[in-house]
């Protein structure tokens, strides 16, 4: 593969991602829906918690990640729905672009959506739950990025598949749930340790796992995506 085609690959991917982000920016429906969902989840958890029985600190990491996970799925659901509505996917496919570049572009756009939601949800979480995040901010952000990168890759694949089915909004979470469990549970573990100020050595293992998961699944998704787009 010559250097020209590698550059082309990334240019196409970025173009696809930019287009998706531009489209979403104009209508903003997915972003708004996901944000509203995140805020709602945080508020409900805050009120549903029985202050006497469950300490905030114990619940905090789980609440954060439930919020991230659910709003991530909401964001993902919308991403291919836009394509379906505009029949834009067929147009894209007719262009002589590498399928891998197409996946990367969609993946980056979805990442941008979900990161945007998380970027709003995290400060709100700190606010609502009175979490003393202090020096752990960097670590929490890092863990969030790693875990999100993992399940958004698989979510991009499944969103592409389920957009063509009936009950798409139900099918995506059903398929995605098993794939979210490992990164989300590891992220909760790591976040819990970060928030309670554990030494970095304890957290390194979880970070490595998350990184491994990302590596394996982004690669696997890149490899299988072309099969989805066959004629």
């Amino acid at each position: 593969m010559g250097r020209a085609s590698v550059g082309e690959f990334f240019r196409v991917a970025l173009a696809v991602a930019a287009k998706d982000i531009r489209v979403e920016h104009r209508s903003r429906t997915a972003l708004v829906a996901a944000l509203a969902f995140a805020v709602l989840t945080l508020v409900i958890f805050n009120f549903a918690r029985d202050a006497a029985s469950l300490s905030r600190d114990a619940m905090a990491p789980s609440v954060l990640w439930i919020t991230f996970a659910f709003s991530g799925v909401v964001a993902l659901n919308r991403s291919f729905a836009l394509e379906r509505e505009n029949a834009a996917l067929d147009g894209l496919l007719m262009a002589p672009v590498s399928r891998g570049a197409l996946f990367l572009g969609k993946y980056l756009a979805n990442l941008a959506f979900v990161f945007a939601v998380e970027a709003v949800a995290l400060p709100l979480f700190v606010l609502f739950f009175g979490v003393d995040i202090g020096g752990a901010v960097g670590g929490v952000i890092g863990v969030t990025v790693l875990a999100t990168a993992g399940f958004v890759a698989v979510g991009t694949i499944f969103a592409a598949m389920t957009v063509r089915t009936r009950l798409a909004e139900l099918m995506l979470p059903l398929l995605l749930l098993p794939f979210m469990l490992p990164p989300v549970t590891w992220a909760v573990q790591a976040t819990a340790r970060l928030l309670s100020g554990r030494p970095a050595g304890e957290i390194a293992g979880w970070i490595r796992l998350l990184g491994l998961y990302d590596l394996v699944f982004v690669t696997a998704c890149l490899l299988v995506f072309p099969s989805l787009m066959d004629e």
Binding site: I157, M161, T162, M171, L174, L177, W186, Y213, F217, S227
Partner: protein, 231 residues
Amino acid sequence: MPDLHAARRAASRGLILIAVGLAGLAGIYILALRFTPVERFQGLPQKIFYIHVPAAWSALVAFSLVGIASALYLWLRDPRLDLFAESAAAAGLVFSVIMLTTGPLWGKPVWGTWWEWDARLTFTLILFFLFLGYRALRSALVDPLERARFSAVVGILGFVLVPFVHLTVYLFRTVHPQPIVLKPSEPSLPWEMLRTLLASVGVFTVLLIGFVATRYALGKMEQIKGADDGR
């Protein structure tokens, strides 16, 4: 039509194998209940072990078959591989339902709760959802080629997921009984229990093969008849 006769004979052979498996299962019941000593600490419920573990084994084998057949399908595009994957997934679903029902029935008397979010039970649940999602996706897709491709992607990604779930097993302290058979050193099960377990694994394997073979032959029969009607 010679092909149809061949398929019907194959289906009958599969059914005979299932019948053998059923007889074997009855034999295992007798073996486990009458001729195997009662475990000292858990009492009678421990005997569920002789059903739960072989069912887990069969579910895992079925799942691997789905994964391998899916990968081969995407590579070779042979529709027989797709039918095989579908058949294995159906059998796997049956065995994972057995796992999910016998697990809590064993857990309640021994650990005190119906469910523990320990890694191994969670693994059971994940496997079940993967099988369920695979089937749900298949029934939501109409075009046979698209259905084959998309479910193959799910099969492959699910197969890639399993080691990560397995990793999680060893990272969490778990209530689940530690692996006593597959330890590197010699198994710590007394011989009478080990032989019952191994016999049961054999029977469950026979059942798995029977289920898959019959379902495959059935699929062939339906395909041939569909073709005969001029579709």
